[in-house]
Amino acid sequence: MPFWKTCNFRCCCVPLLLVSLLAGLTGCERVDSQFRFSEETELLAPQAEQAVKQTLVANFGSPDDPRIPVFFPVERGQISLTVADFDPEKPTELLIEKPDGEVELVGKRLELLFDPEDAFDVQMEAMEEEQPNPLDGLDQLTIAGYDAETGTITLTQPLPDVELIEPGLELAAAPNSYLAEGERLYAQHCLHCHGVTGDGNGPTAQYMEPKPRDYRQGKFKFTSTGPQDRASDADLAHILREGIPGTYMPSFKMLPEEQISRLVNYVKFLAMRGETEQALNIEVGLDFASKVLEEELEDVTDPEEIQEIKADFNEELDEFILEVYPEIALFGMLDLADAWDAANDEDAIVYPTTARPEPFGPSVADPSRTSVENGRVLYLGKDAQCASCHGDAGRGDGFQTRQLQKRRDGSDYDVPGLHDDWANPLKPRDLTSDIYRGGRRPIDIFRRIHVGIKGTPMPAFGGKSLTDDQIWDIVNFVMTLPHDKGPTTSHPPAEGAVGMVGNE
């Protein structure tokens, strides 16, 4: 009898095989492939929650179909077209100015690029007259046919008869193709840490210290732009190429330029989506979080009164959503778009106004000392107070790391030490470790001090507490810290010496 027909084999191995097969199937955790809404959104009153979710889905789509309003400064990869003529008698036809070269248009989604404020006015007007929204359903517009001879586009659905559709109106076919490409690359390279939604909560994130960046506040640590500015495209691309030493963020230098820019694009898209959600939550949540109603009902026992309060709340909320909310949503997004736009402005980038002096040459800020010496004095001094976090010897062990810090709402954190804006404990950099997360060029370290590190307690010193010459001295001092050669070997005095510096 062949061995596979013996009872032993059948009794033990078959179930074992089945079990291991099943284990293999269930062992692979399915990754949720939808954008997740933030906790704050879930805590809004039901109608408000729905309105915010609708805004997000309508404007930013889903990972399978990412989209973004045209006014956001993101390269969407659209095919740009222009309306040559539109006859409301033939609402499914649109005459376009013939594009250069051959373009494949059939089957692509078509977006009419109205001026957002004009479109808003048209919709609000219709609502005031209690007419249906004429622009409803335009996001489903698809090109059914294209006659290259005449430049006529046939559409899958009729266009509304509105004045907005006129010669010269810009159109976008396949409006978000770069975002779709970005999504694929993101899923391949980034998603497992940074998460589908960009909330820094992907499946591998749990193994990481520090935590992967949560993009949804639009805060990126290492930027060349001012302290209040967003990150520029170049900043994000730089981090992708160079990685962040000392963290799990690796270098993606081997990716072609085009893929890097698609990824930067997609990361910005996720940040903009998250920031829109956050801004709406703040605006709406002030009056219409579920908590607000609960608080109002707290000491009320009379059932009639409860009904009344609830009815009032809901009435107010309905009115708000109908009349105020659309404006808040649109102008919130327009502001956000402006802010991101500004980060790519040449003026937003911080450059030093003076050159870096020789580390062991005379300091410009205080010619009686060498640059490194003066840097040390400033490092320990009262203006910069570097030592309070980074420690007297630069080991990242200043007294602040042992003190209980306060949350933004005034309560104490559970553990002593510094925290980032996401309430994760954070260690000040050990400056002797020779690891520079945001880059080790003098200009990188200069900018860390000048504009600070966003989302962390590292403040911006530039233009306020320190001059550029002083910052250079600190840069020079910090750069010599990991090396035991040179004058810096005589390490600063022990703890508590912050006040002593003035006596020198």
């Binding site: 030493p245 270098s251 450059y351 106004t353 060029r441 200009i443």
Partner: protein, 265 residues
């Protein structure tokens, strides 16, 4: 039915092996085309590879021919005959032990010089020992590289004027160079597939590895030791510069490394 086994052993395995071996270099399935290695030492390693392939190939095909012969002749015998026990043939066993032993001994001596040049520090080419270009630090999941300032020698400890890069190792083409291989976390392996160089990076050790890019160009550098979930991300490249342009390139790198952003205004 008995003949079927004969076909299986004599026809399918050896013929398939020979066909695949002949086709593989063109199909780029991993066998090197002769003269295709991107480094001189790689050529020697390819030579050894083919030598061993031919020896094992001849033995493999020969064994199958013998096996086929035995099956063929045995299948002619009447089926009701009983098998007999034999203690074996002393002479035959001596022969097939000594001949492979001699072949192995030959290979051991024959490859000694190449292997020594590849792995034994004393046997490294003098030029490679002189020309230590960089320290390569493997880490999860990238290659961080430290170069000495132009005109200086690489020091064990990082220096103030060192230069840094990631996932791009710049070397001059046409001469042997040495890198110091380290890892800052787990075990990795420095693998230049087209130059036939592979060396594990071991925690706590600094391992000198030398190689020579024959021509200027870009060559793949990958990690060949499963080092964690991001192992696949450890793809990088070696950039070999024309020798006359290398010094200039390193000077530019030094300028970029110590850019203070002031001139940019």
């Amino acid at each position: 039915m008995k003949r079927l086994w004969w076909i299986f052993f004599l026809m399918i395995w050896p013929v398939l092996a020979v066909i695949v071996s002949l086709l593989t270099p063109q199909l780029q399935w991993g066998f090197p085309l002769s003269g295709q290695s991107d480094s001189p030492l790689g050529g020697e390693i390819d030579h050894l590879f083919y030598l061993i392939l031919i020896i094992t190939g001849v033995v493999f095909v020969g064994t199958h021919i013998a096996l086929g012969y035995v099956i063929w002749t045995a299948s002619n015998r009447p089926g009701d005959r009983r098998a007999w026990y034999t203690h074996g043939n002393h002479k035959l066993e001596m022969t097939w032990t000594i001949i492979p032993g001699l072949i192995l001994l030959f290979l051991a001596f024959y490859q000694m010089r190449t292997w020594a040049e590849f792995r034994m520090e004393e046997a490294y080419p003098e030029a490679a020992k002189q020309n230590i270009v960089a320290e390569v630090n493997a880490r999860q999941f990238e290659w961080r590289i430290r170069y000495p300032a132009p005109g200086k020698e690489l020091q064990r400890k990082p220096q103030l004027d060192d230069m840094y890069g990631v996932n791009e190792l710049h070397v001059p083409a046409g001469s042997p160079v040495t890198i110091h291989l380290r890892t800052i976390d787990v075990q990795h392996s420095f693998f230049l597939p087209t130059m036939r160089i592979k060396q594990d990076a071991v925690p706590g050790l600094v391992i000198p590895v030398w190689f020579e890019a024959s021509e200027p160009g870009e060559y793949p550098l990958v990690c060949a030791e499963l080092c964690g979930w991001g192992h696949y991300k450890m793809g990088a490249k070696v950039v070999a510069h024309p020798p006359e342009e290398f010094d200039e390139f390193m000077k530019k790198m030094h300028q970029a490394q110590f850019n203070d952003g002031f001139a940019a205004e």
